[in-house]
Symmetry: none
Subunit: 218 residues, 2 copies
Amino acid sequence: MSTANMNIRVAIFEDAKLIRDAYEAILNGTDGYTCAGSFPDCNSLDLCIRKSNPDVVLMDIEMPGTDGIQATGFLSAHYPDIRILIQTVFEDDEKIFAAVCAGASGYILKNNGLAKLLEAVTEAYNGGSPMTPSVASRVLKLFQQFAPQVSQETEMILSPREKEILAMMVDGNDFRTIAEKSFISYETVRTHVKKIYKKLHVASASEAVVKAIRQRLV
Amino acid sequence: MSTANMNIRVAIFEDAKLIRDAYEAILNGTDGYTCAGSFPDCNSLDLCIRKSNPDVVLMDIEMPGTDGIQATGFLSAHYPDIRILIQTVFEDDEKIFAAVCAGASGYILKNNGLAKLLEAVTEAYNGGSPMTPSVASRVLKLFQQFAPQVSQETEMILSPREKEILAMMVDGNDFRTIAEKSFISYETVRTHVKKIYKKLHVASASEAVVKAIRQRLV
DNA sequence: GATGATATACCCCAGCAGGGTGAAATTGAA
DNA sequence: TTCAATTTCACCCTGCTGGGGTATATCATC
């Protein structure tokens, strides 16, 4: 987690020149970070990204033309490896929801200080999703709204091994592959699968994986 | 948001005596925090809460008897004003999901340092939901699974008829049934299915339905 | 009018999936 | 200790699934 031997390329999308320049200055002035590009809007987003080739994108929401949410959607679809850190003054459910759905990796408020910003960039770069606690609180509330209720009935009935095998089925493995990966015989896998089908009241792999996902058995 | 003029009452549920005592010590030793009670398990949860009357609960997950998830569910149902901060070593989707659904206000990992812990307690007390970035990352991924998401890419590539057939596959119909319901020939269904597989880059019905659900194609 | 995408339909064939049955070793609970 | 559940393995058989190819009609677009 140290910033030593690390150089995180950051691209900034922010219409306010004052903030943009401040971010650029602190990034370039801190060891381990490079400002790969800073842009006042997302109207030539694809070009900007190809020019700057960033690891992490600092994305404002309110910008002239293409807004930060749309830009996030485009980036997560076309450049899935780029981490997108929303940084804004907005804290309303609608924007948070849209940003998260669009594929944002983090969501931090602008009044959190520059030290926190660098910390958040590093965390995003390392696969984390830094969020200001008040934002996280809203995400959790939204989450609780949308999360399907787990039916405790089916939760208990699958044995550990059965859950394991069901999970591999969800990942698209056929029975032979599952047997190899689990170091058990092909016929044993089939026995487990038959039991899973009976317990879930299904008759095919497709139905089983659908139920597994919908009821969050895996 | 300063800790001045503030006294946060914290109750600790943690089976490891070493950790429990460390938390108690740092809470009582820091201005603005009081350890209102520390308990090795949740087996007399209701009594513990009424005795200690906490603002924030530090909740471990793995405990003998009633585990932290169940306890969280009880507390959020019976004491909705108490903020529950999960603090654990577990970082798997299942536990995070369960904790969030049970009503946890935050989820922090144990290896994050005591300073961070106090910060998290304060943030939870103030209505925020402190989360370790790696945990937040998993929450966002789970969220994106359940939120109505539109992936423009794969959205376009499937023809209306193909989506229709894919939807029926997700509902557990076999090819013959789909043919009957759609008033087309069995072989036509198979032709469509083959095209769907090529477009989604999969090679089986299971994989196709998983992709269909995960990418919200149906 | 040519082209490409879509929708329809059929053939062949290897092979995996689904169902039934039986059985042994292990484990934990009654 | 005995019983139920779990995990392991094997065989048989039916038939649906997956992959290959080929073909026609429609429709929009160029």
